[in-house]
Each structure stands twice: as structure tokens, then as C-alpha cells.
Amino acid sequence: MSWFYPFLQAVLDGILTGSLYALIAMGMALIFGVMRIVNFAHGAFLMLGMYATWVIFEYGHVNPYFGFLAAGALLFAIGAAVYAGLVRHIPVQAEFMIILLTLGVSLICVDTVLLVFGADYHQLNFPLLGKNFRLGSQISLNAPWLISFGIALLAAAGLYLFVMRTMFGRAARAIAQNPYSAPLMGINIHRVQAVTFGLGAAAAGIAGGLLLPVFYLYPDVGHLFNLKSFLMVVMGGMGSIEGAAAAGLVLGVVESLTSLYWGNEWALVVDFVIFILVLSFRPSGIFGSQRA
């Protein structure tokens, strides 16, 4: 049984990481599902969320587990502004123009942060960080990861319910189904899409705030998560947010197991190989029903 506890530990760690992946991916899936926009600035939004939480912690001494709320609000505003100021003016059919646009937004975000805060790595330091939560004699879970996991789960559930149960969510899903008849049904398409873009960005911002205590911080940190969230959205299937969430959890576990058996440096390779395999054989996704 000597293999069992390391395996279980890796699976549990993977689920903890995966919950944050899920939240990031849900934000991107929401934007992709409603507007068919591949948002290359998603990682940059995550990074902005991390920096916002960090600034509040460093200068306002607010615990990041409250600070992430401010990061979410800020990113909601930024997301809605990016939509209203930029994305809105590009015709939807010019999909590569939108990819380029979001790439440009991402470069601007990352390099502005680089100018203001410099390229240094930062890491939070507060008493909770070293604490572990022990399950039996063999398994131990890192306390800040557990808290982030709990909050991420709540945020993901909230986002899901908001999209599935409210009138706004219904309007967004109507646009996803058919962007041409939705306005005919009295939906203010630009307002709904601005809020959707804001919500997607806010999900990334909240995930950034939750990631801050357990990760390190530098201007280009979002890049890694950007590529992973593409993978999760494609795996989840055509902008289905529940599919993206499932893909996030699976990805977390797969990465964790790869690190355990092959070594950390191969985890990303496995990610991208999965990405290529999914794109070649199941481009409509593995999880979730195929929506619109």
C-alpha cells in the first residue's frame, strides 16, 4: 500500500489546484460561450487580480481572503470597460482581429504593471501560510490552499447559478444561442455582453486573489494560466461553463499526478499534449453537453 498515500495526496492536491483552474476557466468559458471571443487577455486579468490583492495587502494590510473581493470588483470594471471601449467596435466575424485586440490588451496590462511594480517576484508572508491540515497520519493539506479551494467553490457555484437561474443569465444564454434573434426579443445585447465580459474578467480576478497566498507574483504570471484556460475551455466544450469547471478539476489532478510520477517539468508538456489530442479528435470537447 505504499503507493496509495502518495497517490491520494497527489489527487487531493490536484483537486485543490483544480478548483482555482475551474474558476479561471469558467470565466473564460463564459466569455467564449456568449461572444465566441477567445480572450487572450484572460491571463493578464488574472495577473491584475493578483496585483490588486497584493497592493491591498502590502499597503492596506487587508487579508487577501478579503482583498480578493476588491480584486473581483476592479476586474469587473476593467472587463466591462474593455468590452465597451474596444471589443464592442470590432465586428464579430473578424475573429482574428479580436484575438489580436485581446493580445494587445494583454501586452498593455502586463507591461504597465512591469513599469509600475518592476519585474521582481513577490510572495505573501503571513502566519497562515505554513499551516497544514492533517488527515490521518499520511495526508496533509495546506491550509491556505484549502481556504482558497472553499472560496473558489463558492464563487464557481455562484457564477453558475447566476448564469443558469437569473434573468440576466437567461439573456446571456440567449445571445449564446443566437446573437441575431436575441436583440429581437428585447435583449440589450451590448449591455448584457459588457456585463458578461466583466463577469468573466471578475472570475479571473477573484481566482488571482485566491491564488496570491499560495503562488508567487510577477508581471507575466498570467501567461501560464492563459494557455491552460484555453485548454480547459476547449476540453469543456464550446463555452460550456460546467464543462470548463470539470476540465479544470481534471487538469489539476492530471498535473498533480504527472508531477508525482514523471516530475514537475513534464506537467505542462502533458497539458499541451492533451490539448493537441483534444483538438485533433474531439474539438467539440469532452465534458458537458455541447451548447450552441
Binding site: 465566441r36 477567445v38 474596444l86 467596435h89 470590432i90 465586428p91 464579430v92 466575424q93 473578424a94 475573429e95 482574428f96 482581429m97 484575438i99 489580436l100 485586440l101 493580445l103 494587445g104 490588451v105 494583454s106 501586452l107 498593455i108 496590462c109 502586463v110 507591461d111 504597465t112 512591469l114 513599469l115 519585474a119 446573437p179 441575431y180 501567461h223 494557455l227 484555453f230 485548454l231 476547449v234 464550446m238 517539468e265 513534464w266 505542462l268 508538456v269 499541451f272 499534449v273 490539448f275 493537441i276 483538438l279 485533433s280 474539438p283 467539440s284 450552441a292
Partner: protein, 334 residues
Amino acid sequence: MKRPQVMIGTVIFAVALVIPLFLHNDYFLQVIFRLFLFATLGLAWNLVGGYAGQLSLGHAAYFGVGAYGLALLSKGMSPWLAIVGGVVLSMICALIIGSVSFRLRGPYFCLATIAFTEVLRLIAKNLPNVTGGDVGTPVPLLFPHNSMRSFYYACVVLTILSFAITYWVERSRFGYYLMAIREDEDTALSVGVNTARVKLWALLLSAALSALAGALYASLFLFIVPDQMFGVEVSVEIAILPMLGGAGTLLGPLVGSIVLETASEVFKNIFKEAHLLIYGILVVLVVLFLPEGIVGTLNRKLRWFKAAPRTPFASAPPPGPAEESKRIPLPLAE
């Protein structure tokens, strides 16, 4: 038909060939070397991204494989043979990448090209015994004598070659196939264009030119690391240049490279390591105000052609029932 563009191109190349006679400053030569290097990469990208409308964000793959091919193969053979080896390797990569990702459309294609390039970058990082890993690997110097000037001339000649190839493609049947695929792949297929094969040929050509540029770049700097050759920033830069200048135009990549490299050189001193900021701002401005790029917009404004072929990615017509099916891209080509 493309007279003005060819003439402007010829003037630029003539000036470029004369410059070293007056300019003895190695730093400036290196800046212009970089300008023409990225013009070559932009021209190579333009064959696939501009004419065929297949928007690759993974051209760093071919650039990097060309460079690593030279570095690794030259351990066992002469560097000139190693360059050929690098080009062949890069074309093999293009064959694999193309045959998988050309089945995909729209954003899916774009993401697939990124994924392949990332796999190559990580492989280069994770196999320290073969590639030197994160530490990097030395590259042989191709021109030991009068080095900077030789590199400069080699690069300008490579750009001229790419320009000539683009000129040929633009007027050939092959080029018209590519443009047909860009405008409407299904229609192209239905009138008998073997779209899969045509796209693959364009990518092979593009990969070969990119690999040559990669080898030249690596040899000048004598040492390469994975992030510098395979990084997403490289792919983005390669794609942005022709988009800025005008994708699907002969002169576009050259103009884009001149504008962008000059801007980045000027702003490097102001913004230090944040010099990509200017890229971001330029990209956003181009997308908003010049969706056809500089040359594309000038073409339309000045009516240099009587019946100008539509440049790609221009603002699409307002959505109507006919466009509706286009909005949601089919992930798989049928």
C-alpha cells in the same frame, strides 16, 4: 499590377544594400539586421496567415527549430549542412503541425499552433542532455570574418528571396488558390482546389524561410535558450508585423517591420524592459483604426489597383442571415 509595391520594395532593398558602405557602427547594423530578420519572418508568415488566411500564432516553432537544428546538428557536420538539416527538420515539423491543425478552423486553428509551439519549447527546456535545457546551447559562428556586415548582407539577401517568392506566389495559380481559401474555404473546395494540400505547401514554404531566419539569428548571437527562440512573444511579434503592415499584401510585412522595429528601438530606452507596451498600444490602434494594415488601407484609399483583391480580416459586412452560419466556427473542416 503590383508595380508600386514592387518599386517601393526595390528601393528599400537598394538602400539596405548600400547602407553598410556608409555606416560603420555595428550597433546600428544590428538594429537593421533585426529589422530585416523580422521582415523575413513576417513575409514567411504572410504566405500562410495573409494569403491563405490561416492565422498561425505558432511561427516561433519553425524559427526555433531552424536555430536548434543548426546548433545541434553542427556538432556532427559542417554548419552549412546543419542549416539545411535545420530547414528539413523545420519542414517536417510543419508537416506534422499542419496536418493536424489545418483540419481546424478559426480560433481553434490558432490555439492548436500555439499548443504545438509550447510543446516544442517545453521539450527544448526539459531535455538538457540533448538541447542544453534551460541553460541553452552554443551555436557556431557562420561568418568568422567581418562578421556583423556579413550577417547583415545574408539577412538582406534572405529578405529579398522571401520578397521574390511572395511576388511569385501572388501572381501564380498557387497564390490564387491560397487567396480563394482565405475568402471562402468551402467554395474553394467545391470548385476543385485541394485545400488541404495547398495549405500544407504554403506552410512548408513558410517554415523553410522561417528556419533560415532562425539559423541566421542564432548564429549571430552564438547562444540560444528555449524561451528566446520558442517563446509566445516571438510568435506574436511574427504575426503582428504583417498585420500592422497589411496582411496579404506584398509590401505589408516589410512596412510593418520597419514601423514596429523602429518604434520598439526608440521606446526601448524610455520604457526599459516594458518596451512591449508600445506593441500592445500599436496592435490595439491597428485593430481599431487600420484593420487592413498600413499597406492594405493605402491600397484601398489610393486605388492603386482597379479591381483590388479584398485584403483579409477587413471589417466584415453587417450580420445578416447569410453570415449567421459563419459566426459560430465549425471546429472541424468537413
